[in-house]
Amino acid sequence: MPPSTSSDLTLSVNGEKYTLTVDHRTTLLDALRERLDLTGTKKGCDQGQCGACTVLVDGRRAVSCLQLAVAAEGREITTIEGVAEGDQLHPVQQAFLDLDGFQCGYCTPGQICSAIALIEEHAAGWPSAATDDLRPEAGPPPLTPGEIRERMSGNLCRCGAYVSIVQAVARAAEAKGAAA
């Protein structure tokens, strides 16, 4: 008998459980947008190259266009709809607003999810390709504009708002005492 090509599953998104039946071909991105009506996560390239669909999976940033929904069962998904505390914007959201970290806004949910994770990764001591001294003893490198640009390179902005995106990430990181 050929294997079933769909599954009943429960997705945990922004702290809520959603039960649905998905064709296995459904990506997490399409499940969020088309099935759960969580349209904050954007579809850009749909091939893992632009970062517009970035969400957090178990707290780590990931591109939801290359994540199968069925393989996301059992993981905690956070989308842009879940980063604020009620009416209180996440500090990264506030920094993007204050510093105009966007123009058209299409890449912004992905940029913000990516930046939230970036700040956590940096705080955990993760180096990047821009880090000169990789030795763990050296500690986390200063979060310079060069470090931010490298760590955000998976998020493209066709409007070219990069200058203010870097400033917004730096300001949000500063609030956590991380920026250079």
């Binding site: 294997p3 064709d23 999976v57 393989a71 490298e150």
Partner: protein, 330 residues
């Protein structure tokens, strides 16, 4: 995309049993390459066996002073690991030089080794490609090949292996462990990828149905003084047009130990053994570094539009070894 069945495995023997040697089934790791290829129709599995929940997500020291890296360790965790950064810095740098933060969080070590070439003709199902459709031809040889192979290619395929991680693993003599229904096995990375020859569609020496369970790095003291350098067409988030993993130990001005591997120049991470042989015992200076690079690149067969890679790799060898020599004697 073709419809497919999905099963999740929770232990190694269960994963191998679920796959059951089925040629139409694939193991699913992070999916960053496989899911992409399924969308374009290059891969058309009837069934996926998800291995992300296998207990293979650890990095542990081996008894002899090496490191054992589990197959489902993510690129991010590999690059952030203190012992990798301390003892094999070129490996951490190589991983960090690849993809983006998002993709490194998803991608796994096992999947990284098995990722497919980014040759545009391979990715385009309307095009001929001996790797995707054996016997159909290789349009790259007379077409767009500015980022194709200069070493070890054949008249049947000139595609390159895209991994950065694999280049550092090749330099450090990594050994790939796998599990089959008949028991476990091992393959040195040097024997893991098959020569291109007339069968570019056969990429690895893994037995059918085998699951990669991990990669072991032998103790390699010289690796503590190592570096990965990647040249690409933009500053970040792009595949290499040439890269190098190098490690160097210098004593009294002479090369005591050296490791060299090249990326983006061949169908596999290219261990530069001819260059290493030329360097052992020789004075650690730019002249010898260049001569060693020439020894390796003497067998290069560039195509009309990728001859720049010969010069690029020569310059990379000289630059990176010169830096390492200075640091080794500081």
């Amino acid at each position: 995309m073709r419809e497919f069945g999905y099963q999740r495995a929770y232990d190694v023997s269960g994963a191998v049993a679920l796959l059951d040697g089925d040629g139409e089934a694939r193991f699913l790791g992070g999916g960053t390459n496989l899911v992409d290829l399924m969308k374009t129709g290059v891969e058309r599995p009837a069934r996926l066996v998800d291995v992300r929940d296998l207990p293979l997500d650890h990095i542990e020291p081996t008894g002899d002073g090496g490191l054992r890296i589990g197959a489902t360790v993510t690129n991010s965790d590999l690059a952030a690991h203190p012992e990798v950064r301390r003892r094999y810095p070129a490996l951490a740098q190589a991983v960090l030089a690849g993809a983006s933060g998002q993709l490194r969080n998803m991608a796994t070590v096992g999947g990284n080794l098995l990722q497919r070439t980014r040759c545009g003709y391979f990715a385009d199902v309307t095009s001929a490609c001996n790797k995707r459709n054996p016997g159909s031809g290789c349009p790259a040889i007379t077409g767009e090949h500015h980022n194709h192979a200069i070493l070890g290619a054949s008249d049947h395929c000139v595609a390159t292996h895209p991994s950065d991680m694999g280049v550092a693993l090749a330099a450090f003599d990594a050994v790939v462990s796998y599990e089959t229904a008949d028991g476990p096995g091992e393959l040195p990375l040097a024997d893991f990828y098959l020569p291109v020859g007339e069968t570019p569609h056969l990429e690895t020496a893994l037995p059918p149905g085998a699951l990669i369970t991990g990669v072991t790095l032998p103790p390699t003291p010289v690796a503590a003084n190592s570096r990965y350098r990647k040249v690409r067409e933009r500053a970040s988030y792009a595949f290499a047009i040439g890269s190098i993993a190098a490690a160097l130990d210098v004593e009294d001005g002479a090369v005591r130990d050296v490791r060299l591997a090249f990326g983006a120049v061949a169908s596999r991470p290219w261990r530069a053994r001819a260059a290493e042989r030329a360097l052992l015992g020789a004075p650690a200076d730019a002249e010898n570094f260049a001569a060693a690079a020439d020894a390796e690149l003497a067998h290069a067969k560039p195509l009309p539009h990728n001859g720049y890679k010969v010069t690029l790799m020569r310059n990379l060898v000289v630059a990176v070894l010169s830096e390492l020599a200075e640091e080794a004697t500081r």
